[in-house]
Symmetry: C2
Subunit: 233 residues, 2 copies
């Protein structure tokens, strides 16, 4: 019996998270698994869906992290959403071409729904998509509130706590986690500059709230962090 590697703890099998999100039992989970085609792989920094593409009807991230982002005419970038193992992205029924990119942050495995499904399996799948979409909508709302109404310190803490909570649904516990983003990417996610992210992280460390060192995040004062951003559910 081997211990969990860092990678296992931080990129656990997506199924666990999917089940936690949707409350499916093993049978239902198996039905969902049947719907998904053989996993595809991409390495870090590769585009999975480019701006202008039409998203496949369903794309489930199985391993690794990915992100959706777009870029303004003058090069400013915004990371819209981070995708963790277990997250599902579904095409709109309208089949609109996407206006943003979906890119692998680490090396990833993902799976695309097979076109022909047994009806029962498809139902489970549709439900899983619905549940996942509902959670993601909530995270988008939270991202909006973060960008619109929080200071740099609050944004960083709130964002890291959200990542932690989402990883915990996949069974990643403890006060430490690996967040494979550069400070510049964090800046693009949080609407700040990388310089300011750097200073904010240092300030959080000096106030002994958390540490961030080369992608390794350690929460030092858990309740202090949570107090900082108020009650959430």
């Amino acid at each position: 019996m081997r211990g969990l590697s860092k990678s296992d703890r931080n990129h656990p099998p997506a199924s666990q998270r999917l089940v936690a999100l949707s409350g499916f039992d093993a049978d239902q989970q198996a039905a969902i698994a049947r719907c998904l085609a053989r996993p595809q792989r991409s390495s870090a920094r590769q585009n999975i869906v480019a701006c202008g593409d039409v998203l496949p009807p369903l794309l489930a991230l199985l391993e690794g992290w990915a992100y959706r982002w777009c870029v303004l005419a003058d090069g400013r970038r915004q990371i819209i959403q981070i995708l963790l193992p277990g997250d599902i992205v579904g095409a709109s029924p309208a089949r609109l071409p996407e206006v943003h990119n979906l890119t692998a942050l680490t090396s990833v495995a993902y799976s695309v729904a097979s076109p022909s499904l047994p009806q029962a399996d498809g139902d489970h799948l549709a439900q899983a998509v619905g549940v996942s979409r509902a959670w993601q909508e909530r995270f988008l709302h939270r991202q909006i509130t973060r960008l619109g109404r929080m200071s740099a310190h609050e944004r960083v803490v709130d964002w890291l706590l959200e990542i932690r909570d989402r990883l915990q649904l996949a069974g990643c516990d403890g006060d430490e986690m690996l967040v494979p983003l550069t400070q510049e990417m964090m800046a693009d996610a949080l609407g700040l500059t990388s310089v300011h992210i750097n200073r904010t992280l240092q300030s959080l460390r000096r106030s002994r709230l958390l540490e961030f060192e080369r992608g390794r995040v350690t929460f030092l004062d858990h309740s202090g962090c949570e107090m900082m951003i108020g009650e959430r559910n």
Copy 2:
């Protein structure tokens, strides 16, 4: 034959917008209409869904404007999304209690899906919800980019252009529109203060891009506005 009143031009029947969004024909539109219960009405500032409530499975805004918003522990508010006639809000399959409020901005008419539907009608309805949700997701992404990466001037212009585009899907044309928000609400939508919104609007007027006077928006330099925020689709 009477002319269109201001209210007609700015709060046109939701059906037109729904059809424009979804591409449904008259028959399909009628099927959707059958799914919707007798409209309910609320006056401005009334909560339609409060924080903590579970959203009904489907809620279609027929007339008037509404908005989704949440508030931080210390009272800072963020308006997450503006809802226009024809927008549909659907409960998540997970039936999570909402973490934000849905409030009438003007007096509104809305309709909630009746629980028992003929299957065919329900299918049309489900499709309409899917299409509407897809558009709304796109607008959420745009809101994130706006808050994360745009200056105050750009936020105001981009937001007003978005509102205009969305109203145009409902048949509201021309360089003028009524936007029934106070400057303080615009501030809460755009992540700014009302003082700064005020100064930004004045500056936009001085540079002859647009006018904003008591909720009446006039685009003076259309291409100037669009150039300001770069190409979008």
